[in-house]
Symmetry: C2
Subunit: 669 residues, 2 copies
């Protein structure tokens, strides 16, 4: 446990060997000498009737001298055993505790709860190297290599063809002598067909190896520090992407490169500096030496990906949006000026297409549409929405140009998500009066004590998720028609409907300033949601499906919107509401999976190769879907699942503005 | 021809394909498009009765349109054909001309005449890459990779798992666009189990690739610039090793490192600077761009090897003389600050032992004792003599501390080999009068016109090979006894024998200054030659042999000494004189073989693993052999081969000084 793998072994088999035979990667830095303590296990006792197993403490060999020595010198919790030094004597249910941590100083943070099987690209191997011998004048590295092969090949690892990083070749001899010929080798091997490389060497037993998983967003960079030996996330940090000073959105950054000599270099340095700052932060938080970081995985959209790697993103700014490289990128961290161990390696996940990046690939890896039968729609909303749709049989992907409206830009009262911003809205369909909630407060505006909290921050605007709600509530209250027109006739009924130039507005918040939703605001959201929906619809057409089983919203925007309102506005197709979930930074989780398990790297490489890429700009149907999706919820389908929980307004005859197109009357079931 | 390989093919087989099937690496950069001209051949016509072949021009397909187009645009000598565009129609003897050179500007120097079969680690592959396509958004690198696999896998190459150097990933896109999607890829692959790497990319057809083979001696650095496409050496240069200013011999350089902080760094920079100067020289001589240098091989003794690679050589200065690495070293040239193509690769040959370096390995590769049945003794004389002895069954190696006497140091009238130094000596056994020749003149001192030439340079000393001759001639003239004592009784007979403190000297040259050979000089040479001989003898004991079939002197010293005198002095065991050869810079030839053919890399790697290393300091017999070898020629064997050409003096009773040991009378057959 927790992998649940089972097998039969002869009595007397060391538990560590049994685990390895089952493909469970129990770590053992010392190679079974009973000194590293990394291979700790616990026996679950009891009658596991379902599996016809009675697991008891008598079915494991008695606590032995190696374990006693370890318990005396270090610290072995009651009930814990060393799997290298204890053998199977009968039926056993074996638990691998997630918290096996030797360095007690390490601060551990609550993980996201997701179990990731470990099979990292880095192995620590303790080894006792024969001293140099004039009779057999093999070089120090050659004897180290031979001993690693000898000691570790039997442990399921294959260190043949081991290479050595040049920086290490020049420092190898003093390390071996400082350690009195006892050293811990850090070996990197990513993939069966690649040569293993000796990337770090420590005198004596070295029991720590860390990795970094990082999502480079255009707005925010998020970084996780993970123990490669236990799989635990031990620190997380984030920062604004400093490239924002060169351009708020992606295209303006590409323009900056095109217009300014040295612009690409400046943005590359900016992001790498920020990464180095974050590395310093997570290390200092967790009291870890940056030199113990040996592996790193990175994800990001194509433009972030290119700028991070030092590649000019200009080609991504114009059709045909050619990536310099779409497959995974592997290289030493030192080539990217990252301040970690000089031998550390970097793995960058593959990009799916010119507008669907390694972040979308990582989110796919995390949510796994390709691992299940159910059809999953995975959406990451930003300036571009990245959309993946599929199941284990087939997967398609596209991006859709939603523009920045969902992030609060282009909205008259829009603002970034910050304390004081309106994030929740309810409108009474009878009175058309509104109630709101703001970021930083748990109270609704009609509850006692709201005033005080509101004064603390000041109410200055509506954030992205609030805009979705207010437009959706306006629609549900009948203030907006199916066609997105604010119904001016309601001005007779409520003074919240006010004239604004030649159109109408809705007064959402009577304060200083007064916040109104204008007809232009409604149009901006309509355009954004139509683009998103048209992209989704295009992929559904490609898959020849009429409905999806599951919807996942990745990214910050998705974390805060209420799925119900997203559906009312027609951002997404009809779906059982309990199957619509926000999954937060799924890209970061995917990066962590690739960090901890090489099999996940191969999995996403293969999945990305198989994903069918749809370029919305080339699809004639996209424009048709876009126009149809302008309506609320939209004109092309019914919403039986949504209508179970929300009463959608009767479709009225259109009033006010008209785009002059003939309309079909929306049918109801 | 010249490989001599033969095979049977169906009529219509392109000659290029047939060559490849036979394992003959005919180059074709364009992949058979008939545009690179690298695959030129000539047909030898005639009746090759020995092989029952009648080769005629009718047995090759007629001159075709591809060949005509190439001949029109470029220059195809009469009789030349393109093997990619001509097919076998009957029996053919096919010649691969050594001079296939596309760049007519290239200065070609006489090669050393040795034919090296080509199978380089670098391949140039012309490829036409599909343009980017929004429907299939593979990255530029990914499409390039796929096309290389598609076009070139059928040509006996396997570019699966192709990786790309990071410096190239950042410059890939403009190169592809400058070449209008037609590019030449330079791919490095050294060994079947290693991933091929894209290391350079050129717009359009690029028809040049060069390599450097370099021998880093402690005194002299020798460099060859070689065309990787034709195998021709096109420039050679050499320079003094600038590390000499830190210490004349190897041990003084190690001491410098131990005594001076930053000393290792300073010597590493010095040698790399010298290499960069040499690269500039050979490139400018051959009118080649340094950026067209894609592969480099290096050899050197262990201390030169370590300092070049940036490894502290301190461990090599004290027992057990531990090498940091003994196996081959492969790395990018950029990590060694070498100013060649940023993707160029470096291959450093393996070292045999702490005192027997990659230079000895390279000399072994060049002379090939391990490839033959005859027992070969391979000696490279320097401050340490590196000695390899063996045949295809078994090979042993050792080094012996000869000291610098053979190089003219520690000799009262010794000097480095330079114009004016005495290099040849004859002594009349009757009169004891001497004749000499000097470097820079073809005349003997008793010939007319010698005076003028001698005045031009001035006669200031005796070089290493001259010292061997004068001591040997003194012995043959009876001036020195078997025990190495100058016979003072001869002062009665000749005024060339003069008293010097309590011993005697021989006046070699009466001039200004007068050059004399003192008893101390004789002792220094005795010690040096005894060390060399004892080392050789030890290896012969290990091999359980009493005689060798062939002797090879490698290095500068060996190039100038007369084998007969080396044998008279007892530097080497008895051997047929025609089988004793000086082979010049055999280490440089070995480096060139490793540069041009990967099979030679594998060959020397395997050979070095199999060579038995003998540490003379640990062998009790060494001291015994050393003492016995002090005598002239020596006391332990007879010299039947030498006595066929030289009359050795009768052994006299000892006179003058004595080391006090009992002596056996030397037996004559």
């Amino acid at each position: 446990m927790p992998s649940g793998k089972r097998g039969r072994f002869s009595p007397g088999t060391p538990i560590l060997d049994a685990a390895r035979e089952l493909g469970v990667y129990v770590e053992s830095v010392c190679g079974g000498r009973g000194i590293c303590g990394r291979c700790q296990i616990e026996i679950q006792t009891g009658n596991f009737a379902k599996h016809a197993i009675v697991s008891s403490a008598e079915n494991i060999s008695p606590f032995g001298p190696k374990e006693q020595r370890y318990a005396d010198k270090r610290d072995l919790k009651p009930g814990r055993r060393l799997s290298c030094s204890s053998t199977i004597q009968g039926d056993l249910v074996v638990d691998i505790p997630a918290d096996v941590q030797v360095n007690a100083q390490v601060v551990r943070k609550a993980d996201d709860g997701r179990h990731i099987d470990r099979n990292p690209a880095i192995h620590l191997c303790y080894v006792e190297v024969p001293e140099p011998d004039m009779h057999n004048p093999l070089g120090d590295f050659d004897r180290l290599k031979a001993q690693l092969e000898k000691d570790w090949t039997s442990k399921g690892l294959n260190w043949q063809n081991l290479t050595i990083d040049h920086h290490l070749l020049t420092s190898l001899q003093p390390i071996l002598r400082n350690g009195k010929w006892k050293v811990t080798a850090a070996i990197h091997q990513d993939g069966e067909n690649t040569s293993p490389a000796l990337i770090a060497l420590y005198p004596g037993l070295h029991n720590e190896a860390y990795g970094i998983a990082c999502d480079i967003g255009s707005t925010t960079i998020a970084m996780h520090l993970v123990s490669l030996l236990s799989g635990t996330t031990i620190a997380t940090s984030g920062t604004a992407n400093p490239q924002i000073r060169f351009g708020e959105d992606l295209m303006s950054r590409v323009s900056y490169v095109m217009m300014n000599p040295g612009g690409r270099e400046a943005m590359t340095i900016a992001v790498r500096d920020a990464l180095n700052d974050l590395i310093g932060q997570v290390c200092s938080e967790a009291k870890v030496e940056a030199s113990d970081i040996l592996d790193m995985t990175f994800v990001g959209n194509p433009i972030m990906h290119h700028l991070f790697l030092g590649i000019d993103p200009t080609e991504l700014g114009v059709a045909p949006f050619a990536l310099a490289v779409s497959s995974r990128v592997q290289l030493p961290a030192s080539q990217l000026d990252l301040q970690v161990n000089p031998g550390a390696r970097v793995y960058v996940l593959p990009c799916i297409a010119g507008h669907v990046g390694a972040d979308a690939a990582a989110a796919t890896l995390a949510e796994g549409p390709h691992r299940q039968d159910d059809l999953m729609l995975l959406v990451d909303v930003g300036t571009n929405a990245e959309i993946v749709l599929g199941n284990k049989t087939r997967t398609v992907a596209a991006s859709s140009p939603t523009g920045p409206a969902f992030e609060g830009a282009e909205i008259s009262c829009g603002q970034r998500a910050a304390p004081g911003a309106i994030e929740r809205v309810r409108i009474d369909p009878q009175t058309l009066e509104s109630r709101v909630r703001i970021i930083g407060s748990e109270k609704w505006s009609d509850e006692e004590g709201f005033e005080e909290e509101a004064q603390k921050f000041g109410i200055t605007g509506v954030c992205g998720s609030g805009i979705i709600e207010v437009i959706a509530e306006m629609f549900l209250a009948g203030i907006i028609t199916t066609d997105g027109v604010i119904d001016g006739s309601l001005a007779e009924k409520s003074d919240r409907i006010i004239a604004n130039d030649r159109t109408w507005s809705y007064v959402l918040w009577r304060g200083e300033p007064q916040l109104t939703i204008t007809q232009t605001d409604v149009r901006a959201i309509q355009l954004a949601k139509a683009a998103l929906y048209a992209g989704i619809r295009l992929l559904m057409d490609k898959m020849e499906i009429a409905a999806v089983d599951q919807i996942r919203f990745a990214g910050a925007f998705g974390s805060f919107i209420d799925p119900k309102y997203a559906m009312v506005l027609g951002l997404i197709p009809d779906c059982q509401l309990e199957n619509v979930k926000a999954v937060g930074n799924a890209a970061g989780v995917g990066a962590k999976m690739a960090l901890l398990n090489r099999d996940h790297r191969r999995e996403i490489e293969q999945t990305v190769r198989q994903i069918e890429k749809i370029e919305t700009a080339l699809e004639p149907d996209f424009q048709r879907h876009f126009v149809n999706a302008m309506a609320l919820p939209n004109k092309v389908e019914s919403f039986p699942e949504l209508e179970k929980v929300v009463k959608l307004p009767e479709v009225k005859e259109q009033t006010g503005e008209d785009d002059g197109r003939p309309r079909r009357r929306r049918r109801r079931p």
